[in-house]
C-alpha cells in the first residue's frame, strides 16, 4: 500500500508537470481561488461501502488535476469512517460525512481532511445541511416511526434540539426565500410529504402533500420548486400501485402548480438534479437519464442517454452531469462525467464501493 501511495504521488507530480509543459491555458474549470480550502477545489463522492461488514469511504475529485483520490478520510486519519456513508457536505471549511449505520457525522478539516469532531447519537442520519456559522441540520430516519431533523450546534458538535418532520426525511434544500424544503420519502415505510422548515425558528411551517415517496427537491430559475416522487409499490412489489410523479410547486404559498405523472407502473424515477442555471432538471428512470426544461409542459418522451446509475449529480463548476455506478455492490464502483447537452460520456474514474448520489459539489446549497 505504501508503494502504491508513493507511486500515486509520482503520477500526481508527473501530471502537474505535464500540464505545465504542454498547454497551461487548458484549465478553464480550475480557477485558483486563494480562499478555497484544498478539498473545496473539487467535488466529494460518498461511497457507502459494503453492506453489513463494511465501511464507507470518501473520494475526492480534484479540479486542478482531474484525478480522483480514494479513501481520503481513512488515509489521513488512520481509521475507517463507519458503516454506510450516506452523504458528504462542506460547510464553514469543514467536511461533514453522514455515516448512516454508525449513527454519526464525522467532521474533518476541508484543508487537510484531518478529523475535527464526531457528532454522535444521531439515529440513522441521511443528509447534512449547514444553516449558518453556528447551526446545521441533519435529517434522521430515526427508528422509522417518525422523521426528524437534528439541530446541531456547530460550536460544540452536539445535538441541541430536534424538529419532527414527516417520515424518512432526505436531502434538504434551502429556497431563495429562506425556507428549507425536506422531501420525506417514508424511510422504511412510505410517506408523501415535503416538510417545510423555518430555519430561523427551527419550526415546522407545514407539510405539503405531494406524490408517494418524494426523493428530491430542487429550485429552478423561476424560484419554482420541483419535487420528484418515486411512487408506491404494490404490496407484493410486482409493480407500482401509484406511479412516479413530478410536482411543481409555487413557493409563495406552496400550492401545486403542476403534476407530471410518469404513468409507468413498473419503474420508479429517482435522482433529481438541476443544472446551475436552473433551466433543466435531470432524473433517472429504468436505466435511462432524462433531461427536461423547467418550462416544459410534458415529461420528455425520449431519454438523454442510457446508463444504469445508482446516483446522479450536477457539477456546477465543470457543468457536467456526474453519474455513479455501484456495479455489483461488492466491487469498487466508478463515477462517469457526462456532457449534459447530449449525454456523451466524457470520462470515468474508479472510486470506492457503492458510490451513491450523496455528492458534495462546490457552490451547492450545502
Amino acid at each position: 500500500m505504501k508503494l502504491l501511495k508513493i507511486l500515486s504521488y509520482f503520477f500526481f507530480i508527473g501530471f502537474l508537470f505535464a500540464c505545465d509543459g504542454d498547454d497551461p491555458e487548458v484549465e478553464p474549470t480550475a480557477p485558483n481561488e486563494p480562499n478555497a480550502a484544498q478539498y473545496e477545489n473539487g467535488f466529494l463522492i460518498a461511497n457507502e461501502g459494503p453492506f453489513q461488514n463494511g465501511t464507507g469511504t470518501v473520494s475526492f475529485f480534484d479540479y486542478s488535476t482531474n484525478t480522483v483520490s480514494n479513501n481520503v478520510f481513512q488515509t489521513v486519519n488512520n481509521r475507517p469512517l463507519g458503516n454506510i456513508l450516506q452523504s458528504v457536505a462542506v460547510h464553514n471549511r469543514e467536511i461533514f460525512m453522514v455515516v448512516n449505520n454508525a449513527n454519526k457525522v464525522e467532521v474533518a478539516d476541508a484543508e487537510t481532511f484531518e478529523s475535527i469532531a464526531t457528532i454522535e447519537n444521531l439515529a440513522l442520519p441521511r443528509h447534512f445541511f449547514g444553516v449558518d456559522e453556528d447551526k446545521a441540520y441533519v435529517s434522521l430516519w430515526s427508528d422509522g416511526t417518525e422523521g426528524k431533523l437534528a439541530v446541531i450546534d456547530l460550536n460544540t458538535y452536539t445535538v441541541s434540539s430536534e424538529i419532527t418532520t414527516a417520515l424518512g426525511p432526505g436531502k434538504m434544500m434551502l429556497h431563495s426565500n429562506g425556507e428549507l424544503y425536506v422531501p420525506c420519502s417514508g424511510g422504511f415505510s412510505s410517506d408523501d410529504k415535503v416538510s417545510i422548515i423555518n430555519t430561523a425558528t427551527d419550526a415546522l411551517i407545514e407539510d405539503v402533500l405531494v406524490g408517494s415517496s418524494p426523493v428530491g427537491v430542487v429550485e429552478d430559475k423561476n424560484q419554482k420548486i420541483w419535487v420528484l416522487c418515486a411512487g408506491k409499490f404494490l404490496p407484493d412489489f410486482s409493480g407500482l400501485e401509484e406511479s412516479g410523479s413530478l410536482y411543481k410547486l409555487d413557493p409563495t404559498n406552496n400550492v401545486i402548480e403542476f403534476i407530471f405523472d410518469f404513468d409507468d407502473f413498473q419503474s420508479r424515477p429517482s435522482n433529481l438534479v438541476i443544472d446551475s442555471d436552473g433551466e433543466h432538471i435531470f432524473y433517472t428512470l429504468a436505466g435511462s437519464i432524462y433531461k427536461m426544461s423547467v418550462d416544459a409542459t410534458d415529461l420528455p418522451s425520449s431519454a438523454l442517454f442510457s446508463a444504469s446509475l445508482y446516483g446522479l449529480g450536477f457539477d456546477p463548476e465543470s457543468g457536467y452531469l456526474i453519474g455513479s455506478d455501484a456495479g455489483d455492490f461488492v466491487s469498487n464502483g466508478k463515477i462517469m462525467r457526462y456532457n449534459p447537452e447530449n449525454g456523451e460520456k466524457i470520462d470515468e474514474f474508479t472510486v470506492g464501493v457503492i458510490p451513491n448520489g450523496g455528492f458534495h459539489f462546490k457552490e451547492n446549497n450545502n
Binding site: G49, P50, Q52, N53, G54, T55, N77, N78, R79, P80, L81, G82, N83, N101, A102, N103, K104, S115, E120, A123, L124, D143, G144, T145, F188, A230, F233, D236, F237, Q266, S267, R268, S270, A286, S308, Y310, D325, A326, G327, D328, F329, V330, S331, N332, V353
Partner: protein
C-alpha cells in the same frame, strides 16, 4: 398439512417426542431377544465406519451405506467422539476451524458461522444429520455455531461436489453427522462442566442404557458466554482497547436416541434433537452500537427402520424438522419471524449382486414449508422428489473399485439437472492408491431466492456445475512409524451462480455468475504407536483459486478475480501426543489473506493461530474423571475472519467430565 400448522408451539413437539420416546422404551419389553446385532466391538465398527474396506452389511451401517460404500473416488476426512470429547464445549463451527481443512467464516464468538468447502460459498455445503439434510429452507445455509460439537458421535467431511449422493447443495462438500447406538453398554452416565474465559460455561448431562437389542440415550446441554472479550479497536483513532459489547449467547438443547433391534436383522431408530438459542448480535466496529437479537429454535426428529435379508439391506427413514428464527432490532422497530418445516421421507436399498457388484437404489420425497411476513402470500411450500441409483464394482483383491451414482431431483417449479458421479480407486502398489472422480452437482434456489418480497425471483434456475478430481494416497510403515501422504488436485466450475443484486428499487437474485474453483490439497500424517501411547502429526496445505469466470455485465473487470472471503492459502499442523492417561494436542492453523470486494481491491490479512489442549484421565473402578484444559489463540493474535468483526484473543477453557461406572 393443517395438522402440522396446528402443532405450532415448541412445547407440543417436545411433549410429542418424549411420548414417542417413552413408548419406544416400553415397547422393548416385548422384543425378541434372540438376534444379536451391534454387539460387535465398538472399535472395529468405528474403523469400518467410513472406510471402504468392509463388504459386510450390518444393519447399523446401512444408515451410512452411501458414505461408506459409495464415496469411491472422494476425499473423506473423518473425526470421532475422541476428538470431539477433547473440545466438547465448542460449536461444530469452532471445532471444524480447529481441526479440519474447511474454511469457517465466523462473524465472531457465538455468532453466525458458515463454511466454505473447496472455494465455494456458504450455501454450497450439504450437512446431513443421520442422513437428514439440515440446510435452511430459507437461505440454503447452516449456521455452524448452532451445532454443538458434543451432540454427535462421529462426523465425516467429504470434500468436493457430489450431487448424486447428497442432492441439492452438495457443491463444495458435505458434512455428515452421525449418532450411533452402543449396544451392550449397560448403564452409562456422563456429567461435563466446562468453564472458560469471557463467561463461558458449558454443561452437559447424559445417561444411556444399552442391552443386547436396545440402546436408549438422553443428553441435555447448556452453553452460554458473555463474550465480553477485549480487543484493540482498529476503527478508532489510536486503536483503543475496548471490550466487546452485546455479544452474549445461550444455547440449550436435548438429544434423545432410542434404538431397538426389534426383529431378526431389523432395527428401528428414533432420534430427537431440540434446541433453543438466544444471542445478541454485536455491532461491527464500523457501526455505533447494536441492540439486535436473534433467537433460533428448532426440533428435529428422525425415525429410521433398517434391516437386511440375505443379499439385500434396506433403510426407510422419515424425518421432520421445525425451525423458527426471530430477529429483532429495536433501533428500527424490526421484528422478523421466519418459520420453516421440512418433512423428508426416503427409502433406499442395497443389493449385493455378487462378490463384485453392489447396487443401490433410493427414492426421496421432501415437503418444505416456509413462512415469513415478507414472503409472497406469507407461506410457501414445495414438494421435491429424488430418484437415486448407484452401482459399485470392486474386485476381489480390492485393488480396483469403481462406482457410478446418479440422481434426478424433481422440484415443484423447476427440475434439477441429472447429476451423475463416476468414481474410481485403484491400488497399483500395496502402498499406493490412486483416486479419481468426475461429478456433477447443483443447488436449488432457496425460499428467500424465490419468494422474498421484494425481489424474489421465481424464474431462477438451479446452480449447477461439473467437478473433477484426482488424487493419490500413499502409505508406508517404517519401524512402527506410519506415514500417510494424500495429494489431490480438483476443479469445480459452477454456472448460474445466484447473486442478489440491486435492481429497480430493491434487491433481486439472478443467475448471473460463473465461478471456477480449483486447487491442490496436500496432507501428510505421521503416526507412531508407543509402548504406552502414541503420537500423531498431521500437516495440511490447501491452495484454492476460486475465481469469478463470468460476472454481471457492469463488473466484467472482476472476471478472473478471487471470490471474496475465500483464502487462496490455508494450512494446518496438528500434533497429538498420548501417554497413558495424558493427552497433549497442539493445533496450528493458517488462513491466508482474503479479499473483501469482488474487485479484489481491499483485503483482510491472513492470520496464524495456535491452540494447546491437554487432558488427563483418572480411572477408578467406580468413576472415571477426565480433566481438560485448553488455551486458544496462544499468541493472543488480533484477527478478523469477517471484516470489522473482531475475534477473541488468548482464552482458556477448563473442563471436567465425570463418568460413574454402574456396570461393576
Amino acid at each position: 398439512m393443517n395438522y402440522l400448522k396446528e402443532l405450532k408451539t415448541k412445547y407440543a413437539w417436545w411433549f410429542f417426542s418424549v411420548i414417542v420416546w417413552i413408548t419406544c422404551a416400553f415397547a422393548q419389553n416385548s422384543i425378541a431377544q434372540e438376534f444379536n446385532l451391534g454387539s460387535a466391538d465398538d472399535k472395529s465398527r468405528s474403523e469400518a465406519f467410513f472406510s471402504d474396506s468392509t463388504w459386510l452389511l450390518e444393519s447399523v451401517q446401512v444408515e451410512t451405506s452411501r458414505l461408506q460404500h459409495f464415496s469411491t473416488g472422494s476425499q473423506v476426512f473423518t473425526f470421532d467422539s475422541a476428538q470431539i470429547r477433547n473440545q466438547q464445549a465448542l460449536s461444530m463451527g469452532e471445532l471444524l476451524a480447529n481441526i479440519s481443512p474447511v474454511y469457517i467464516k465466523s462473524y465472531g464468538a457465538g455468532s453466525l458461522s458458515t463454511s466454505s468447502f473447496r472455494g465455494m460459498g456458504a450455501s454450497h455445503t450439504a450437512v446431513l444429520w443421520n442422513g437428514m439434510p439440515l440446510q435452511s429452507t430459507m437461505n440454503g445455509q447452516l449456521d455452524f455455531s448452532l451445532l454443538p460439537a458434543n451432540l454427535v458421535d462421529r462426523a465425516a467431511l467429504q470434500l468436493g461436489g457430489e450431487g448424486a449422493l447428497w442432492g441439492s447443495g452438495a457443491v463444495g462438500g458435505t458434512l455428515y453427522l452421525q449418532n450411533e447406538p452402543q449396544f451392550n453398554s449397560g448403564i452409562q452416565a456422563n456429567i461435563a462442566q466446562v468453564f472458560g474465559s469471557f463467561g463461558k460455561h458449558f454443561q452437559s448431562y447424559s445417561a444411556s442404557y444399552g442391552s443386547k437389542d436396545w440402546f436408549v440415550s438422553a443428553k441435555v446441554f447448556q452453553s452460554k458466554a458473555e463474550n465480553d472479550f477485549t480487543f484493540n479497536n482498529r476503527a478508532k483513532a489510536n486503536t483503543p482497547r475496548e471490550s466487546m459489547a452485546h455479544a452474549a449467547f445461550r444455547q440449550r438443547g436435548i438429544l434423545l436416541e432410542n434404538y431397538v433391534n426389534f426383529a431378526k436383522n431389523q432395527q428401528l431408530a428414533f432420534r430427537f434433537w431440540g434446541q433453543e438459542n438466544e444471542r445478541e448480535i454485536p455491532a461491527t466496529l464500523t457501526e455505533n452500537s447494536s441492540r439486535a437479537t436473534q433467537d433460533d429454535r428448532f426440533a428435529r426428529m428422525l425415525l429410521t427402520w433398517t434391516g437386511y435379508h440375505k443379499q439385500i439391506d434396506w433403510k426407510l427413514q422419515s424425518g421432520y424438522t421445525t425451525e423458527e428464527l426471530l430477529f429483532k432490532d429495536p433501533d428500527i422497530q424490526l421484528e422478523s419471524l421466519s418459520k420453516s418445516q421440512t418433512w423428508i421421507n426416503e427409502a433406499e436399498a442395497n443389493w449385493q449382486v455378487n462378490d463384485w457388484f453392489l447396487v443401490q437404489g433410493g427414492v426421496q420425497h421432501q415437503f418444505l414449508l416456509g413462512s415469513n411476513a415478507n414472503y409472497l402470500d406469507q407461506v410457501q411450500n414445495q414438494h421435491r422428489a429424488s430418484l437415486l441409483a448407484s452401482v459399485k464394482y470392486q474386485d476381489q483383491a480390492s485393488k480396483l473399485s469403481a462406482r457410478m451414482s446418479v440422481r434426478q431431483e424433481f422440484a415443484e417449479y423447476e427440475n434439477a439437472p441429472l447429476v451423475p458421479t463416476l468414481g474410481v480407486e485403484y491400488q497399483p502398489l500395496t502402498f499406493l492408491t490412486v483416486l479419481a472422480k468426475l461429478s456433477r452437482s447443483y443447488r436449488l434456489p432457496t425460499f428467500n431466492d424465490l419468494y422474498w418480497q421484494p425481489g424474489g425471483n421465481s424464474a431462477l434456475q438451479p446452480e449447477a456445475g461439473w467437478s473433477q478430481e484426482v488424487g493419490i494416497q500413499a502409505q508406508q510403515d517404517l519401524a512402527g512409524l506410519n506415514s500417510r501422504l494424500k495429494l489431490t488436485a480438483f476443479s469445480n466450475k459452477i454456472s448460474n451462480w445466484i447473486l442478489w443484486r440491486p435492481g429497480n428499487g430493491f434487491w433481486s437474485p439472478e443467475n448471473v455468475q460463473q465461478v471456477w474453483a480449483r486447487g491442490l490439497e496436500a496432507a501428510w500424517e505421521l503416526e507412531k504407536t508407543l509402548p504406552r501411547g502414541k503420537f500423531n502429526l498431521l500437516l495440511r496445505y490447501h491452495h484454492t483459486k476460486s475465481t469469478i469466470e463470468k460476472a454481471y455485465e457492469a463488473n466484467r473487470s472482476n472476471e478472473g478475480n478471487q471470490l471474496i472471503y475465500t483464502p487462496v492459502h490455508t494450512g494446518s499442523a496438528n500434533f497429538t501426543f498420548k501417554h497413558d492417561a495424558l493427552k497433549l494436542t497442539w493445533q496450528q492453523q493458517y488462513n491466508g489473506q482474503v479479499y473483501t470486494t469482488n474487485s479484489n481491491t481491499s483485503a483482510l490479512p491472513g492470520f496464524m493461530l495456535a491452540n494447546f489442549l491437554t487432558s488427563y484421565t483418572l480411572k477408578h473402578k467406580l468413576v472415571e474423571v477426565d480433566l481438560q484444559a485448553q488455551i486458544y489463540n496462544i499468541a493472543n493474535k488480533t484477527y478478523e475472519v469477517m471484516e470489522w468483526r473482531p475475534m477473541p484473543g488468548r482464552n482458556y477453557q477448563f473442563g471436567i467430565i465425570i463418568k460413574p461406572n454402574f456396570n461393576i
